[in-house]
Amino acid sequence: MSSVMTEEMRSFIGAETPPITYRVSHREIARFNAAIRGELPPIESDPQSQGNPPPLEANPLILRSFISAPFDPPFPEPFHDVLDGGSSFEFIRPVVAGDEITVVREMQDVFEKSGRFGPMLFKISEVRYRDFAGQLVATQLSTSISYGRPAGSV
């Protein structure tokens, strides 16, 4: 079976995505927390629009919804299908309503393995989440596995 790894893919090791910033609203946290508990989200106007909302702490995995920008130029993805291989989070402080979170992803490794779905491409990256003051809120080491149908075939 021929390899899907290319020198172009290897050249992304050490590359960082452009920073992208998200403002975290009270309503967004309420919806995220409800989704984790399998509850319908509360139907209410956003308390942030009504003066002094009660403090609301997000489930820490809300960080995963703050998606990093694409690499520029984009990573030459060979496959269409993607699986999440796992994550290792370090949380420095909770995410709360009103936060502005800036996200940067650094590619740390790219390699190929063969699995039940045929050749699989593993990408190891570290995502850093910083607040308005530039202080780290959390880091995530993640493993993404792409496999299956060729990119652009579906």
């Binding site: 967004e28 919806r31 995220f32 409800a34 989704a35 984790i36 508990r37 399998g38 989200p41 489930n59 820490p60 995995l61 809300i62 995963r64 919804s65 998606i67 299908d81 993607v82 699986l83 999440d84 291989g85 796992g86 994550s87 290792s88 989070f89 370090e90 949380f91 909770p94 779905f117 299956g148 149908r149 579906v154």
Partner: protein, 142 residues
């Protein structure tokens, strides 16, 4: 929600488990709030085309459910410091459970830290996503 302190915890303690019926609606809800619109999580035909039996639970949702179990256990006064998960099996929508137990405890820089092994289990009780976590718990004199 009970408040648990560092002194209350012993090695071997079980974390209060979470049992939940993860429905297709919840997966759609999670897709919306997480921005993960990969169709294998809500489109059965697409998931089957990708080689799966049915729509599958997002890996990050499994981690989020484990983190919620730990947050509920810590009673709103502890803080999750680390969480590592490894997705070793695919889970389909349906009954799932999250479990965990304390493996060690220590004080670092005056902060009480508790290490926990956690498990995400499918409807048959098999562990599909093991993990390790560290939770900071306040001491009684704080």
């Amino acid at each position: 929600m009970s408040k648990i302190h560092f002194e209350d915890v012993e090695v071997g303690d079980e974390i209060d488990p979470v049992r939940q019926n993860v429905t297709p609606r919840q997966l759609v809800q999670y897709a919306a709030v997480s921005q993960d619109f990969t169709p294998i999580h809500y489109n059965t035909a697409y998931a089957q085309g990708a080689g799966h039996d049915d729509i599958i639970i997002h890996g990050a949702l499994k981690t989020a459910l484990l983190s919620q179990m730990l947050a509920d256990w810590a009673g709103g006064i502890g803080a999750l410091k680390k969480l590592e998960t490894s997705y070793r099996g695919i889970d389909f929508a349906g009954e799932i459970s999250c479990t965990g137990s304390v493996t060690s405890k220590r004080v670092e820089d005056g902060i009480g830290l508790v290490d926990v092994d956690v498990q995400f289990r499918n409807s048959e009780g098999s562990v599909t996503t093991p993990g390790k976590a560290t939770v900071a718990l306040p001491k009684r004199d704080e």
